[in-house]
């Protein structure tokens, strides 16, 4: 039961992209087509799974003070491995993901899960959490890519859709469309997730280190720094 809960919370209740608003950069950039989105989702899930398992297994070995650099090195190692695998077995995907493949290293979801979940929980739970979060990330990417590809390109997974192919709105696959669709999706989530805490501090919502710095807003940090000086 608990295991199932761990898995499904990443899908909907704590969806990393739409609810926690982590990993916005790859979401916006790779959701231009469904194939790209699925590739990105799969790559990030593999990295997340490996890093969560290893970090969870090493949670008693890694000293607390240098944990962030340790996590980054581990994550970068897995990203490099995935990058090489994709280059070898799916060169077309490598080309279309381009710079965003190595940038999985700085994807906030992965470091965020390491910090929030893997360093406190057992290996198995962490693996399930990683799979759930990865699936949630992929789901959000898939959703966005479906909307953007169908409306912007008139295709789905490269298959042409009769009427839409002649009436596509190209702007949806370009940069502004990404922001627009993402905004609409989050608005939908806000509308339907009634029991979600509405008073959310958006100063830190998009901040990659929000869960690391533990403060409610960056202004607070700034004030504190001013006091310290």
């Amino acid at each position: 039961m608990n295991t199932l809960k761990n898995f499904t919370k990443g899908l909907i209740k704590e969806n990393p992209v739409l609810v926690l608003v982590l990993g916005t950069c790859p979401t916006l950039a790779t959701s231009t087509s469904v194939i790209n989105a699925l590739g990105m989702g799969a790559a990030a899930t593999v990295v997340l799974l490996c890093s969560n398992i290893v970090i969870s297994a090493l949670r008693k070995v890694i000293p607390d003070k240098v944990r962030i650099p340790c996590y980054i090195v581990l994550i970068a190692g897995f990203v490099t491995a995935v990058q090489m695998l994709v280059k070898a077995f799916a060169p077309a995907l490598d080309k279309s993901l381009g710079i965003y493949l190595p940038l999985i290293v700085v994807n906030c979801i992965i470091l965020g899960r390491a910090e929030m979940f893997a360093n406190k929980n057992k290996v198995f739970d962490s693996a399930i959490d990683a799979l759930g979060m990865g699936a949630g990330f992929t789901l959000a990417l898939f959703l966005m890519a479906t909307i953007r590809e169908i409306s912007g390109n008139g295709t789905f997974c490269g298959i042409e859709i009769p009427v839409l192919i002649d009436n596509h709105i190209s702007i949806m696959t370009m940069a502004p469309g990404g922001f627009f669709v993402f905004g609409l999706l989050i608005a939908c989530v806000n509308k339907f997730a009634k029991n979600k805490p509405q008073k959310k501090n958006f100063d830190c919502a998009g901040c990659p280190q929000a869960e690391l710095c533990g403060k409610t807003s960056c202004d607070e940090e700034k004030k504190e720094a001013a006091v310290n000086d």
Partner: protein, 196 residues
């Protein structure tokens, strides 16, 4: 020289890191609420981007490539950036406290900023020479600065307006970002034709 100007201008306007390449969205959405924090963050980003390029380009060209270690690029670059940010913070705190006061709080946030890692990897991918890489980093940083400052203006207008409940907060910010990014599409093709 013309090539350098083209690289600089297209990094600022056409391939704007935030609005058309989607790099560094996190600080763009997180820190753009007030003009002074937006300025501080972008100055810190420009600074770190230049430093990171100045260090990673020689590492890639003179250390990784000759020793056939190109696959270590990601690991080495992220470590260099993380170490560099720490080092810069310590040096600034010790020797230029006034600068540390204005940039300091943003520096730790930059380690996980994908724009910095992105610019260093793109410089290598595009095959730029050292000077071109530095110019590209400067342009990317300036583009980030421009987007942040512009967007903080847009956001201050949003703050005071009446927004439907489900759009409050992040959604309306993203829609505003969509419109801001739309305005940057207008630069497409301008710079190539300027020098043709």
């Amino acid at each position: 020289m013309t090539k350098l100007i083209i690289i600089l201008l297209s990094a600022v306007f056409i391939n704007n890191y935030v609005l058309s390449r989607f790099l560094g969205i996190c600080p763009f959405l997180g820190v753009s609420k007030k003009l002074d924090s937006a300025t501080g963050m972008s100055l810190a980003v420009i600074f770190v981007m230049l430093m990171a390029t100045a260090v990673t380009w020689p590492i890639q060209m003179y250390l990784l490539v000759p020793n056939d270690l190109g696959y270590l690029q990601t690991i080495v670059f992220i470590l260099v950036i993380a170490a560099l940010v720490q080092l810069v913070e310590i040096i600034l705190k010790r020797y230029v406290p006034s600068l540390h006061k204005s940039l300091g709080v943003y520096l730790p946030l930059i380690t996980t900023n994908c724009a910095v890692l992105g610019v260093t990897i793109l410089n290598i991918d595009e095959g730029y020479s050292f000077v071109e890489a530095m110019v590209n980093s400067l342009g990317s940083g300036l583009g980030f600065f421009l987007a942040m400052v512009m967007f903080s203006g847009v956001r201050s207008t949003i703050e005071g307006s009446d927004i439907p409940k489900s759009f409050q907060g992040l959604p309306i910010t993203l829609i505003a970002a969509a419109i801001t990014s739309l305005s940057f599409l207008g630069f497409g093709g301008v710079i190539e034709n300027l020098f043709a």
